[in-house]
Subunit: 210 residues, 2 copies
Amino acid sequence: MTSPRPRRSPTPQERQRDPERTRQRILDAAAAEFAEHGYAGARTRGIATRAGVNQQLVSYYFGGKEGLYRAMSEQWQQRRGELSPPGTPLPEQLRGYALEALRNPAGFRMFAWSGLQYTGPHDDPDREARSRMLGDSVTKLRALQDDGRLPPELDPVCLQIMLMAACMAPTTLPHVIEGLCGVDPRSPEFIEHFADQVALLARVIGLEEN
Amino acid sequence: MTSPRPRRSPTPQERQRDPERTRQRILDAAAAEFAEHGYAGARTRGIATRAGVNQQLVSYYFGGKEGLYRAMSEQWQQRRGELSPPGTPLPEQLRGYALEALRNPAGFRMFAWSGLQYTGPHDDPDREARSRMLGDSVTKLRALQDDGRLPPELDPVCLQIMLMAACMAPTTLPHVIEGLCGVDPRSPEFIEHFADQVALLARVIGLEEN
DNA sequence: GCTCTTGTCAATCAAATGATTGGTTAAAGG
DNA sequence: CCTTTAACCAATCATTTGATTGACAAGAGC
């Protein structure tokens, strides 16, 4: 007869019930669904199906669609932040940002959706996180300007915004890209090419900081 | 007794029933609603209410929400096209394009929504209209490059896309702008300032064609 | 073992939403 | 006038959709 093996307590991955894992599954599924369809187009049923759980759990864990959206945004916000090390020169930093469309397409899309859904400074919890993320980049631009390497009339904040919008073009303007180039705007080849072009443009503008 | 006045046939504006005007009202209301909420977020009831018309007329004239969306997109596509006269230098052309966010915010927003809703080269009826619109601009960029005024590694098509995305930033990234500048991204003051900045950037890049 | 908590699901609900039906009336054509 | 056409509306429908209910079973604690 087999001796009764000392049954170690099962790790969360093995347990049938694991609230934390379920919760995270729903969050991940929500990220995918919201990224694909936006808030209005997303379906809680779709999220539950993606997560492989019962639809009711969305209410159980997050109190409904809106609560789930908020929780998901919050978590997504936290994950970002370690984009490029502080010392990186601006052109490389911009290339890295453009490459996010490849590493984290869902994040980029949700960011773009949130721009169109944006109604005003109220109900924008991510505001300070965003400005913190972009702040030092603007500082760099200002420094370049003070060195006389950028025209004094150029507004560093506007420049930063223009560059950011340019980086996101494969996400925000895929229809233009496909119509103009005939290539798949989401393909790794194009996005890498585009990221190179962004970096190149940054150098043409003169954003090299020696 | 009054002589029977020769009753002229009433102009459309005076008639109680005027199919063409009703149709156009619905189209205008649809443009506003779709621009504000996107396709998924738009409500046919909302459109009918905006148009001051019975909801059923949406089906009567356009066969439903999707048909209305298509008809509206098509009309919107036709209206555009006379953006800037052909001879305009590129920086001015870009400023003009950025100013569209002021003259035609709904059009810009619908354009941005359509980018996120875009699924592929199928079901994109506006494709050739778009490339036609941008084609000559790319040609200009190529000419500049051939003159040696732009680095040969720079891809004119990508540059065009980046500039276009930059012009649209007040529409696509209002949350970033408000968080970074603290101003209303839709205010005429900001959009005009931003348009100036776009033109300035174009000159920094060297898009002046003498 | 027993109980209590709570994670999970199937079934169902109420509201919203796009669409349809049937009737009504303005206006065009005799 | 009278008839016919078609623009228009109120009422209603079927479906979708987000949310709720109630049962139940897996674990934790005793």
